[in-house]
């Protein structure tokens, strides 16, 4: 029911504000609607996405936390586990019932004990270590496997783009 979902989201927002994990900021886009959040994620250090600040949108269902939210990057992304339109494809965001790729065990999937913080942390680790088997973006997966240098260049461009720094200063 939406009432308990609201209280849970409020609690998560509070926790994320009071003890923000490194490199993550998240909260409702407006106070009018707690079921749509915006999150800023910093690219993990030591990876090709280092330094970038990537905005993403989280949309929660009305029966949250029984069902997982949906997460979409609102900036341009190039990553094996992110669709061209920005949707994030990781197992933690899949409900236990559905298995679009047919390879995940249910232990990796959504359960109500997960939270926004855990989702964002696993997205950060996904940025650091793509799972090139899932193939949300086949081109990116192929390039990640075969031509890492080119991939790093594209990532570098994306990082500059999110920061608003021209490619050739």
């Amino acid at each position: 029911m939406a009432g308990s979902a609201l209280r849970r989201l409020m609690a998560e927002y509070k926790q994320l504000t009071l003890n923000p994990p490194e490199g993550i900021i998240a909260g409702p886009i407006t106070e009018e609607n707690y079921f749509e959040w915006e999150a800023l994620i910093t690219g993990p250090e030591g990876t090709c996405f280092e330094g970038g600040v990537f905005p993403a949108k989280l949309v929660f269902p009305s029966d949250y936390p029984l069902s997982p939210p949906k997460m979409t990057f609102t900036c341009e992304m190039f990553h094996p586990n992110i669709y061209a339109d920005g949707r994030v494809c990781i197992s933690i965001l899949h409900a236990p019932g559905d298995d679009p790729m047919g390879y995940e065990s249910s232990s990796e999937r959504w359960s109500p004990v997960q939270s926004v913080e855990k989702i964002l942390l696993s997205v950060i680790s996904m940025l650091a270590e793509p799972n090139d088997e899932s193939g949300a973006n086949v081109d990116a997966a192929k390039m990640w496997r075969e031509n890492r240098e080119e991939f790093n260049k594209i990532a570098e461009k994306l990082v500059r783009k999110t920061l608003g720094i021209p490619i050739n200063p």
Partner: protein
Amino acid sequence: MEFMMVDRLPVPRLSTYISATVVSISAASYYSYKYSMDASTPEQSAIQDPSQTEDPIDVYYEQMLNVLAFMLQDPLCFLVLCNGAICSIVMVGAVIQSLVLGNLRPVEHIQFRERLWNWVIYKFIFMFIILKAYTLDKVALWLFWYSTLGFLHLMTSLCKDRFEYMWMSMGTGTRVNWKYIHMSVLLSIGFIFSLFLLNFAYLVGLTLSKHIFAFMVIECLMLAGSIAHIFLRHYIQLFHRNSINHTTSPGKFIYYSELGLDLGIRVMEILHYSHAIIWTNSYLTMAGFVIFMHMRQLISDIQKRLQKHKNFLWVHSHLEKNYPMASIEELDVNSDNCAICWEKMDSARKLPCGHLFHNGCLQSWMEQEPSCPTCRLSLTLGHDQNIPMNNTNNVGQDTLGTHALTPHHFFHFDGSRYLSWLPSFSVEVTHSLRPPSQILTSQLETMARQVLQLFPYYPMSMIIEDLLTTRSVDLTIDNILEGRLVSPLQNIEDEPAIIESVPTVSSVEQFINAPSYTKFNTNLGEPVIDDLVSLGSQFSKSPDERENILRVRKQTMIMKARQKYMSKVSSSKTE
């Protein structure tokens, strides 16, 4: 009630409609004035001669009556008058909408349009084929009846949508409360009106014929039922919002009356339609076909609801039987909050794996997936104790530990050793555990086509994927309209437009894309960064302040990232 073609039919703008009505009424009255004057001049001059002293107001009044009488006799003018009456209902509706609901959201607009056309088409079929209203006065009467009912129906469904939207926002301020009160008052007025119409049906319908009486009564009852249903759901929502702990649920009575109303409205509708078909004997007509299709939809709705209820009952009894409530000592030892709702536990249910949850929270999760939310221990095992053939039972209980660790289809394998029919039974069980969610692919495809009609530039696969999660055309359209589902095609073509449609994101994007990378360490940056320490460790009670703090934190984060990046670049250059 899903007509594909309905989606595309436009509804004329309100102002156009009103002005057209005003023009037609004035034209009709002018025409009838002319005619009535022509017709009555000889008589009137004869009559008027002796009564010269008559008050001019009375003369006007008489003329008005003449004109009106003429208009009622002329079929064209009569229809114009009917249209005028409907127009006044529409105007009342518009006034109420702007007073109580304010502007409609785009989704509400679409749904409203769909419902309006469905109503018009169904009632058109009903009026001319079932009720056989061929004479003008009959048409007028039914038109009036149905437009009043339709008006109330549309208002009710608008209120329902709005209520559901409002549950999603955090607002508890006086303004929001006022809105709740406004809408409740509106709905109560609608309820009173429906009772009034019921009375009218009793007075008028009964004198005409029993069948017509039955039609009218069922229509009124459906309206009253749906209003009561909204109130009930609202009450349940309020209960969930305000209950501090999740130990209690709204109560059996509320649950069953909600279920009863939900099913009752649909059963009534089915009765209504079957009555109409049987009465007119129109099994093999076009109207019969349309109505049969609609009835099929209703029956599948009822089935889904019943299955959900069955699942609810199973989970309920399963929890009661197999997992005891935690004792007070156990609660004391466990100082954590409930992992599902993150709130304090005053009482809890204990699972065999030792994890504690609120009873209500666990119940709603188990309806979806019978496993422990924390460690994923499968909880379907207890189900084999419900099986009447008990020779497997001892084995099941003895090996409880090992069983419990395996996923539930293992049990189905086990059962086949003892009795050949057990496996098929257990298949049935797993099916009912994920009940309402499963939609046939053919159904999914028709749904996807419906969405595709509205948004042709979205790829079918994407729509289907979204439909799989939302399971409703309306919700998917909602997702598309509110920019949650972005077409890759559109993305390339007009990126800026999408960004504009998401206001707050746009501010961040603009901020990021602003060509101000040269001035990070100007006065804008520094005070903000100083504030960050205090900002990070507080959670304001005022919504506006929270919003501001979040915005500042985001900006600071981007600013810092830029600074860091630039310093990294410059240091690598100097090397």
